[in-house]
Structures are given as structure tokens and as C-alpha cells.
């Protein structure tokens, strides 16, 4: 229902503590930089998936070209070991995931807001699904929709 059953990753990690050892193995295989480090929120199953895409500059014939790691995190208290020591390119992207989803990266050298103003957005995580922005109101809305803020 929540969409996570259909979405398959190259590697799905249930226990966040395993992430550094997996990352180390991948780095030794040749995946040397992080393209994207972000998360997807699944409020129905109370999960946040950390999604990491890594790729390689040095090994041309590596397959697959972009390797995807998914880590299952608890939505109430998402904590995961930081990847900065293994992939320094993850530094700014981890800071972004921290402010957008509230994921705490343990042992990150400098974990604070990067894009958002810390005064305006303390404790608010805009990319989580329960943070609702208004939708365009071109069509007439039903009464209930108006009451709930216009977004289902």
C-alpha cells in the first residue's frame, strides 16, 4: 500500500548499524563517490528509508553504474551512523537529510542546517509527508478538503 513493497533497491538494510561495513565493502569494490543521499518517508508503515546512490569515477566497467542502498529507519527516532568518513562527498547531503527529515547522523563532524534558516525551521522537517503545503486551488474543492487544508 505505502509503495515500499514495489520499490526494490540494489541492497536493502534492515539494521542501520550495518551501514558502515556495507559502505566500506562497496568502496573497496570501486564505488568512490556519493551522487545522492536522501530519504523517502513512509508514514503508513512508520518508516523512513535512507536512500543512497553511489557511483564510480575510477572504475569504468563497474555494474551497475549507480548502486542504490536503502536503509530502514524508525520514523520516531531516525538514527544512522554517518558515512562522511568513508565517502567525504556525503557531508553536505547528510546535513540536508538532517534538516529535511530529521535523520540524526552519528559522528557527523558538523551536523546542522544547510539550506533552511535554523531560526524559522527548528524542529520542523519539511520533506516529511505530514508537513503539508497548500495545493493549487483552480478547481472548486469539496468542503471537507477545504477544512483539512486542501491536501489529502
Amino acid at each position: 500500500m505505502s509503495g515500499d513493497s514495489q520499490v526494490k533497491a540494489e541492497l536493502f538494510i534492515e539494521n542501520p548499524a550495518e551501514l558502515p561495513s556495507v559502505a566500506q565493502t562497496l568502496k573497496e569494490k570501486g564505488y568512490d563517490h556519493v551522487i545522492s543521499l536522501s530519504a523517502v518517508d513512509y508514514p503508513k508503515s512508520n518508516e523512513i528509508h535512507l536512500v543512497v546512490h553511489v557511483s564510480s569515477y575510477t572504475k569504468k566497467d563497474i555494474e551497475p553504474k549507480i548502486f542504490e542502498i536503502r536503509v530502514k529507519l524508525n520514523r520516531d527516532n531516525p538514527r544512522v551512523p554517518s558515512l562522511v568518513k568513508i565517502w567525504p562527498s556525503a557531508e553536505f547531503q547528510e546535513r540536508e537529510a538532517y534538516e529535511m527529515f530529521g535523520i540524526v547522523f552519528e559522528n557527523h563532524p558538523d551536523l546542522r542546517n544547510i539550506l533552511l534558516d535554523p531560526e524559522e525551521f527548528s524542529g520542523v522537517h519539511p520533506l516529511r509527508k505530514d508537513y503539508i503545503v497548500q495545493v493549487e486551488d483552480i478547481m472548486l474543492k469539496l468542503k471537507e478538503e477545504v477544512k483539512s487544508g486542501g491536501n489529502k
Partner: protein, 168 residues
């Protein structure tokens, strides 16, 4: 007692009264020296830069983008203003000497445009008095040139510059 302050204020008052008959001249002079501060806020900056480039050369109207806030008298808000940027915008505006003018460029600076429901934007008209709006997303560089001319016309007919300089 702040004697120096009182003296300064009274001298300013006398100067302002003396300058009253010359107010058309103030308007005329300011009209040909609109110097927008170098404050590229968002993507409309591309078209702003193009309009001051050689193809359109808005500089020929006496308008020159300049870096130092204290030497400028206009802000062209180029696109979206975020909450973080709004604070800087306010500081930059307050640093400018009067008379000063604000031009809002692009749909985002008017009413949010495509980002109207974003959680991180501020509508410039809520924080600054805006003189001229430039519609478009992004506006063509010709529209920027036209906005400078519109501002000049308004200055001449509505006496914007002398009002700010002598009464504000």
C-alpha cells in the same frame, strides 16, 4: 544633552527648506542615475545580466549595477525571495541612502509565481515598498529596460525622488 545631534538636525532642516525650490532638479538628476545594487537573488538574474549586456545596454539610460550598497539607490529584486534572503534584503535596503527605489522583477517577486505555495518564500511587497513590477517568468531583458524607463517617468511625474529626499 546631545548638542551635536540637535545642531545637526536643525542644519538638516534648514538645508531641506532651502532645497525645496530645486526639487524638480533633484528628480531630473536622480532620474538619470538609477544605480541598482548588485543583489542577484534568484534565476531572473540571468535576464537581468543580459539586459545590462551589450545587446540591450540598459546602461545607456544612466543605470549602472554597482556593488557597494552605500553608493546605490535602487534594488531590482530578481525573482524569488526566501525567508533567509528576506533578512539580507531588508538590511541591504536600509543601508541605502534616500532617495531609494525598489523594482520587483518576475512573477515570483510579484506574487510567488510558480512557487506560490512554497514554505520558504516571502512576497517582497510585504516587506518593502515597491515602485515598479516587471511581469514574466522570466521577463525578457527588454522588459527590464522598460522598467527602468517606467521608473524614470514616474520619478519625473510623481516627484518620487525629491519627496523622499526632502520629506522622508
Amino acid at each position: 544633552m546631545d548638542i551635536a545631534g540637535v545642531a545637526e538636525r536643525s542644519i538638516k532642516k534648514i538645508l531641506k527648506t532651502l532645497m525645496k525650490p530645486f526639487s524638480p532638479m533633484i528628480d531630473w538628476a536622480t532620474k538619470y542615475s538609477i544605480w541598482p545594487v548588485h543583489f542577484t537573488t534568484s534565476c531572473c538574474g540571468c535576464e537581468f545580466a543580459a539586459s545590462y549586456g551589450p545587446r540591450l545596454d540598459t546602461e545607456r539610460l544612466g543605470s549602472l549595477p554597482f556593488t557597494h550598497v552605500r553608493n546605490t539607490n535602487a534594488i531590482i529584486i530578481e525573482g524569488t525571495i526566501t525567508k533567509k534572503m528576506a533578512k539580507a534584503l531588508k538590511v541591504v535596503y536600509e543601508q541605502m541612502p534616500a532617495p531609494k527605489f525598489v523594482v520587483a522583477m518576475g512573477a515570483c517577486a510579484i506574487d510567488g509565481g510558480i512557487f506560490h505555495n512554497s514554505y520558504n518564500i516571502v512576497k517582497p511587497r510585504d516587506i518593502l515598498p515597491i515602485e515598479v513590477y516587471i511581469p514574466g517568468c522570466p521577463p525578457r531583458p527588454e522588459a527590464v529596460t522598460n522598467a527602468v524607463r517606467t521608473l524614470q517617468k514616474r520619478m519625473q511625474t510623481l516627484r518620487l525622488a525629491s519627496k523622499q529626499a526632502l520629506e522622508g
